[in-house]
Amino acid sequence: MEKLYDIVENFTSYPGVAGFEYMAFDDLTKYVKSLDIFDEIGTTPVGSFYGIMRCGKKNAPLILCDAHIDTIGFVVTEVCEGGFLKIANVGGIAAKILPASEVNIYGKETIKGVFASKPPHLHDANEYDQRMNVVDQYIDTGLPLEKLKTLVRVGTPVGFPCKLQKLLGDNLAGAGFDDRLCGAAIVRALMYLDKKSLNVDVAFQFSGTEETGYKGAMTTAYRLNPDKAIVIDVTHAFVPGAPKAREGVKAGLGGDICLSPHTHRAFTKFAIDVAEKEGIPYQLSSAPGATGTNSNAVQTTRNGVPTLLVSIPLKNMHTMSELVDMKDALDTARFVAAVIKAL
């Protein structure tokens, strides 16, 4: 668990709003190299990072583990009088969580910002009945315009800083768990493996631009040309007020294996058997339509790739305080390792 926590702490500390994944590459490469897992490491023009671990056997099939490296965030659309920044969202974000929240602005240097909140004396009579739009919110930098202009321009990315906070049990709050947490779980899974004893080569792809259209997963899977794939993403854990159908996935009960037309049923059943045999906790959910993950992009690569989707239950997704039970992340890592070992 401590190893996993260390990886999560590292992975969530890098910027990388969708489209700006390259901002994470230097630190990420340095850190991953220090773990000494992969025989080959690289990045792609579409914002993906990858590493390949070779078992040393000739013509060994390649198993791809995918998580996405990009996070939700914002881009600056206007640098305004008084040191304010207008923004647009990158990925889905609810405006109601923004006022008075803290952000990092990744300009020439990283500067602090705070979303403005409307002072009470300017509230309308029906203030709370009004719909809020992200693009109507704006950021206060506290800097004079002239100085701000030297640091930030239209197109500068903005993200939530990740401040990890341990809660009761193994619960952890932070930003960017979607999907840096899953990248961490994959790396933790690979650390369980003795590569020489495997029958397969294993690739880890940390795909770019999932939040804005899965392009990193498509193109990196094409490049790596895997024989099978495991996609790891986060999924919504049940919270009060959610519909009954959502009760099937709860925090603390293990990774959520997804049955869907966008995943491979035989591979999925094989993986469920592995979890049963190894006594690894898991949950089941189904996605009759889109999974909202990279699974569809990966499984339709080249001639088609049998793909398994497992998700880590997450609460408060796409906020500055995403919430995970780290037991689930560790169980998911153990599950991924067990599946790879069984191939």
């Binding site: 969580i97 403005a116 002072p119 206060d140 009761l168």
Partner: protein, 338 residues
């Protein structure tokens, strides 16, 4: 003043839970040669002898409490249902980190995820009593090992320098006023002066009512943070005040019409000493001055405020220069005989 400010802002002290902030203040003033007393309401009142006496009893007032949250109910699944202590805009609560006083239990405020909202609900922020706090407990019993009904929380301490010459933190309202008063108490005073650090301002100025009654001051200066509306595209007429423009002098707000003579004295003093100041130009907000004005035989009151953006959130933004202007003006006024 700044040496006290971070320490005070990082202390958890919502209305009714002022013990820790009061103890910190006592620690900082106890060697100053003042006399101090904690009264039944928890207010800390201080008398400091000056070089001279003056006929009128002059009191400087700040409040120790901050806005926060209180547990109303813990459900079977360990989720904490709650409401705010003091006025908190529901839109600065969702998704934020909070920490409970005493048990130091951390939590995250959650509300319905966007994909679970109906089309009608989408884009709107639900009231605070429809949100919940997730502390990571899986059952009421597990939660009750750490917190119970009535327990209080605040935003997580986050004091930081911000922008150019600004401070961002929870609770700058009114820990900055506390820091200014502590600084005054620790300096040599011209005249005998009374000071008070009050409780429960955010829930109706309960502390000030009692202090006004007991001390019967003739003149009261209330040191406060006041809402600055100087955000993007806001016309000057709607700003109330602006950060960086100096100490704020109010003519009238929703609780008080301020003493005309004191106001003129303050303007004159500020101009004389070259202290930056501004008028608050909308009638909004209110503070403990109203209580001093209406209690017992009444008092002459004036508010000297620091402009604060995003007050009552985790991100109060104040200018260091403005806070210094308030401190300078308060000290300069206290050199007057009245």
């Amino acid at each position: 003043m700044l040496k006290y400010l971070k320490k005070y802002c990082d202390i958890l002290g919502p209305s009714g839970m002022e013990d820790e902030i009061r103890n910190a203040i006592i620690e900082d003033i106890k060697d100053s040669g003042c006399e101090y007393e904690t009264d039944p309401m928890g207010n800390l009142t201080v008398f400091k002898k000056g070089k001279k006496r003056r006929d009128k009893k002059v009191l400087f007032s700040a409040h120790m409490d901050e806005v926060g949250f209180m547990v109303k109910y813990i459900d079977d699944d360990g989720y904490v249902h709650f409401n705010s202590i003091g006025g908190v805009d529901r839109r600065v609560v969702s998704g934020r980190r909070i920490v409970f006083c005493e048990s130091n239990t951390y939590g995250v405020v959650a509300s319905k995820a966007v994909h679970m909202q109906t089309a009608e609900e989408r884009g709107k922020c639900e009231p605070i009593n429809e949100m919940h706090i997730d502390i990571g407990a899986r059952s009421r019993a597990e939660a009750n090992e750490h917190i119970m009904i009535g327990d209080c929380a605040t935003f997580v301490p986050n004091y930081t320098e911000f922008g150019e010459g600004l401070i961002r933190s929870k609770a700058l309202d009114d820990r900055f006023g506390c820091a200014v008063l502590v600084n005054m108490i620790n300096s040599d005073l011209e005249y005998d002066t009374y000071f008070t650090f009050n409780t429960c301002e955010e829930v109706g100025c309960n502390g000030a009512k009692e202090v006004a009654h007991r001390l019967r001051p003739d003149i009261v200066f209330v040191l406060e943070a006041t809402t600055a509306g100087d955000t993007l595209g806001m016309p000057k007429s709607k700003r109330a005040c602006a950060i960086g423009e100096g100490a704020v002098l109010s003519i009238v707000d929703r609780s008080t019409i301020y003493d005309k003579e004191l106001l003129e004295t303050a303007v004159e003093t500020a101009n004389e000493k070259g202290i930056k100041w501004q008028y608050k130009n909308v009638v909004a907000g209110g503070n403990e001055a109203g209580e001093y004005q209406r209690t017992a035989s009444g008092a002459s009151v004036l508010a000297i405020s620091a402009p604060a953006r995003y007050i009552h959130s985790e991100s109060n933004v104040l200018s260091i220069n403005d806070m210094q202007s308030v401190a300078d003006l308060a000290s300069a006024l206290n050199e007057r005989s009245f």
